[in-house]
């Protein structure tokens, strides 16, 4: 079988699967993946071992919450929290389909119950509260559950004096929850005020893509904001802006690198270094400064708390 035939058969196989049953992770990650940017054909296992970053052009593929957690948490340290929350349908929303049907579809595609996974973990030995959004679930849109889980995680960080890391990826609001979706921006931001006042560290990691209500709330409120290379990040979507200003936007507009230049993110960090950088930032801020008694060894206390779980 030559490559062309192989692709054709894979396509057929995929299509067949899509109508029959949810894809397992194994099946979806077929043997070969073509780089979106440089078009190189990559052996999927290698790609995965390389953090899903193209070894040729450094293109950072989107990854789901599960893989992200694998990449940045110490093995086995992630303890999920608040997984018992599920979306309701407060408006009885129907567009061309009902909201409950769309939720089922999202879960079938992503294997997740919601667009954010929350919990505590160790990152190179440093304990923290971690939220990871998954664009693959309902476009990473923020409904009541995303807002609630994130808020509860912030409260958990406050309770345990843990640093907080949120890895964002979102298309924006969950329109099907109407005003409730909007209000999650206020809820999460307000909780972050308490965290801020308590002097706890919050690192926001922005990944491809992060837009709308998520950007305009917790994602932009980090003490440090890290973006992944090439990630597109903004408030308004590219198309909306182009329609408004009636001109084409430059290619680099709203990329991580563009945001760095415009002072919106602290650093652009390749995925392979993310874990290390997160740990360094957390360790740096956990250490009591020379002779300063008013800043306790938060990190260490916290690690004990988490490992006691």
């Amino acid at each position: 079988m030559d490559l062309k035939e192989w692709f054709a058969s894979r396509r057929q196989k995929r299509e067949a699967m899509q109508v029959k049953q949810p894809l397992t992770t194994e099946e979806y990650c077929a043997l070969w993946t073509q780089c979106f940017q440089c078009r190189e054909l990559l052996y999927t296992r290698d790609l995965r071992n390389n953090f899903h970053v193209c070894p040729k052009c450094q293109y950072h593929f989107r990854i789901g919450a599960e893989e992200r957690i694998e990449q940045i948490c110490d093995a086995g340290s992630f303890a999920e929290l608040f997984s018992n929350l599920e979306s309701a349908d407060p408006l009885g929303f129907v567009d061309t389909d009902t909201y409950p049907n769309r939720m089922m579809e999202a879960t079938r595609k992503s294997g997740l119950k919601e667009a954010v996974v929350t919990g505590t973990c160790l990152i190179e030995g440093t304990a923290c509260a971690l939220a990871v959004m998954d664009f693959g679930h309902f476009g990473g849109s923020m409904g009541s559950v995303v807002g609630e889980k994130t808020t509860r995680l912030i409260e958990k960080a406050l309770e345990l004096s843990l640093p907080l890391v949120i890895v964002s990826s979102s298309g924006g609001a969950r329109m099907q929850e109407g005003i409730f979706s909007l209000m999650q921006m206020a809820k999460t931001s307000s909780a972050l005020h308490s965290l801020h006042k308590a002097g706890l560290l919050y690192i926001s990691v922005l990944t491809e893509p992060t837009f709308g209500g998520v950007t305009a709330s917790f994602a932009m409120l980090g003490d440090f904001i890290i973006a992944e290379p090439g990630a597109r990040i903004g408030f308004a979507g590219r198309r909306v802006i182009e329609q408004t200003i009636r001109q084409k936007l430059p290619n680099e507009f709203q990329t991580a690198e563009h945001l760095l230049k415009h002072g919106q993110v602290d650093m652009v960090v390749e995925r392979s270094r993310l874990k290390e950088v997160l740990n360094r930032l957390m360790s740096f801020h956990a250490r009591p400064p020379a002779g300063q008694p008013h800043n306790g060894p938060r990190g260490r206390q916290a690690a004990e708390t988490v490992s006691r779980r």
Partner: protein, 328 residues
Amino acid sequence: MPAQLEKKIVPLEFEQPLMLLSQQIEALEKQLADNPNPDLEADISQLHEQYNHLRRSLYANLRPIDHLAIARHPQRPYTRDYFDRWDPQWIEVHGDRQGADDPAMVAALLTLDGIGVVAIGTQKGRTLRDKQQCNFGMPQPEGYRKALRLFHHAEKFGLPVVTLIDTPGAYPGMAAEEHNQAQAIAMNLRELSALSVPVVALVTGEGGSGGALAIGVTNRILMLEHSVYSVISPEGCASILWRSGEKVAEAAQAMKITARELFSLKVVDEVIDEPLGGAHHDADFAARVAGQAIAGHLRDLGKMSGDQLREDRQSKFRRMGSFIESGS
């Protein structure tokens, strides 16, 4: 002659039947003036009655999209109209101190029913030039930063804050993105949530998305009867979910954007009645009623301590959302 015709009010599409009837009445009244006739007089009187009946039933049965139309009526009172009526001597303050003054966000010191407040509101602009200057009510990051400066000012001096919301949303422009619109909104959400002074918002027209919420994290959220508040414009929602620009009415219906629906959902604390047909039929009256309602809430809130006010506001938004929690 019906009052709204005297004031040259632009009729909305759903108001066409009313307008036709009113034109008929006008024609007959002219005829009557030229040629007095008791029968005609009786007819006219009956038509007046019919007109009033039609008017009441029309406004009692508005669809969400009709409310939206009223909320966006070009003659609807804007923030400056309310400020002018509440305190003709209101003092405007300008600027974010960092490079710009955004006319789409008006900041004021004013006395409302005897209470000195910091008042902030989005402004759409009345004339074409105003509209352009105000970006049709869409603030830039600099506008949100001006608001934030005034929020902190209010905190420093223990002054209550009143916000008026009437915006399609934050401006989706290139410079707005580059100046970090998202961060400007997020900072306002965070900081506004934690003020230790009473904060009351009134949605006077359109409450558009994060751009509205950025001045809407308040102890009380009031809405004028015909105002709307939504996570995305019905047009945007229709084009994304229905992939059709024609499904705006359906989107407006599905999202529950009207004052009364949001009151039922417990997101909004009070719906303020407007003059029949909308606030633009009697701006003085609308401003008086709205001002009294806000002042009432400020007086109530004034009984709380700073910590209680912050706690009240934060727990209000803490509760927002609807989800199912299974036993874990």
